[in-house]
Point group: C2
Chain length 310, copies 2
């Protein structure tokens, strides 16, 4: 009988997966409590793709062949560098698109229609004397731009249409079958949008894609929603634009650093902030966990993995 293959968990927030991994007959080790024996023998690591996984950490894992991200996205992993070392990277491609799109529309509405602010105003007894609570524009006929028309972007666009929003999108690759018009450029999309929803993949190629120019193009009456990854938005530029009114509003589920420090947002007006909860529901999490486990199983069996990072 051979020893059980060693599978690493990369972060304490993944600890609830331990029983499911052990049920596969694998030995589970923890990255945050590694023994030399585990480092020497680990075959795969189960990872939360948004958490940075340094390349020098991988150098101490000579038998590692797979980074299986439970998440949709793998922005904490240097995929080319991993593959150069013979390590495959997988993620939960598309498995939570509907949930992320729901949350994105929730952020649109919570910000645009002053729902978070209104809740604060009612609870503070300022129902009729808060000068931030003047009437808001409606949604019908206003323009929503989607950055990245993948599974999430399409699910956002379908929902936005039900609200009478005019939808356009931009992404680096043309999509002849897309149901909505593609803008000439990201900047053109931002200029033509009242609401810009960032829903693209995140990797080394698009860090800071939503830069000061794009932010100012959305403008003083506009709203930027980010359900992609914090790295896609220049967060310093976003904060500066909100503070001096060059951008109207922002609603963010993802941040440059997670958890984002509370004091970073204390004096930034017109924001709605959620703790990276868009994609993780009781429906999607079991699907994402099962996908990661299946990828580890396929890899250990010497078969092609099911959902490699692009």
């Amino acid at each position: 009988m051979t020893a059980a293959p060693i599978v690493l968990l990369s972060h304490p927030m993944l600890s609830p997966m331990r029983p499911a991994l052990e049920a596969q007959g694998w030995a589970v080790a923890e990255r945050w409590a590694m023994t030399p024996e585990a480092s020497a023998a680990a075959r795969a690591i189960v990872h939360a793709g948004e958490v940075p996984l340094p390349t020098d950490f991988l150098e101490n894992l000579p038998k590692l062949g797979l980074i299986a991200c439970v998440s949709v996205g793998y922005d904490g992993v240097d995929v080319p560098a991993a593959r150069a070392r013979g390590i495959e990277v997988t993620h939960a491609r598309g498995l939570n698109a509907e949930d992320v799109a729901d949350h994105a529309l929730g952020l649109v509405l919570a910000s645009w229609r002053n729902i978070v602010l209104g809740d604060e105003v009612v609870r503070q007894g300022r129902w009729r004397d808060d000068d931030r609570m003047g009437p808001r524009p409606g949604l019908r006929g206003r323009r929503l731009g989607v950055v990245g028309l993948g599974a999430i972007g399409e699910a956002v666009a379908r929902r936005a249409e039900a609200f009478g929003l005019e939808v356009a999108w931009w992404g680096p690759r043309a999509k002849p079958d897309a149901a909505w018009p593609r803008a000439e450029s990201l900047l053109a999309l931002a200029q033509a949008s009242d609401i810009l929803v960032v829903a693209c993949r995140a990797d080394a190629s698009n860090r800071g894609l939503i830069d000061a120019g794009v932010i100012e193009a959305v403008g003083p009456r506009g709203l930027i929603v980010n359900v992609a990854r914090g790295s896609v938005v220049d967060e310093e530029a976003l904060i500066a634009a909100l503070k001096d009114g060059r951008l109207g509003r922002a609603a963010l589920d993802v941040f440059a650093q997670e958890p984002t420090p509370a004091d970073r947002w204390a004096d930034v007006p017109n924001t709605v902030l959620t703790p990276h909860t868009a994609g993780g529901t009781v429906d999607s999490i079991p699907r994402m966990v099962a996908q990661a486990i299946e990828n580890v199983r396929l890899f250990l069996a010497g078969e092609p993995v099911a959902s490699p990072a692009p």
Copy 2:
């Protein structure tokens, strides 16, 4: 030249309408600062329909012939009693249905997906240690019941379908052309709904329609959203059910008393509260104001009004 007809404003929050009324050549008087001359001569009152307008107040207005509600709804007015005195009642029927439906979905998402709570958690620096922030169910495949399939209810149902929710409805009258199934009863709808959205008209016939039995039928995992009027929900029963867990969540834009006292909600868990902002946007308010002015103009000209209360 005859004297300008006297038109009353019923509430200080309607004061911004004064210039538009005066531009019609009417003399504007204020209900909260009435002179005997204005009482004796007033022909019409411009009213916010949700504010109680006592019958004994109308008894002091011998020339009054019209109550023109700027609002959609007229629940503060005893319509049969007014008509028995020869006073017509109008409102802004249907003019803000899209905005109210947007807000209703915003309340659904803000509550169901913990957006208001998440914002609080991020700002308080409790990103990873708030035990209320466990994963939530997604929306797809869950059941949303609409109480009242009027213009607002239909607009809610259309949006809900885009989120993959299964829609049903109940109202006192069958609608053979409705696109969604009508439940056998309100109680049956509540029992079959994860989310119940109250979107019906409010009048003397349906005070407390959403009673303890309906609330408990929605149940410990369910959500009740009210964008109709506070009078339609038994608010004491709702609060009691939230406190002891017989109802999961509530998201309310309307209240038994408005403004609702802040301390009424201080120890009521799992609520999202907005200050009756669903229907008033920069798009809808001018339409509603214009409709009220048009109704006053028609009445003073001896013509049939455009949008009488049913």
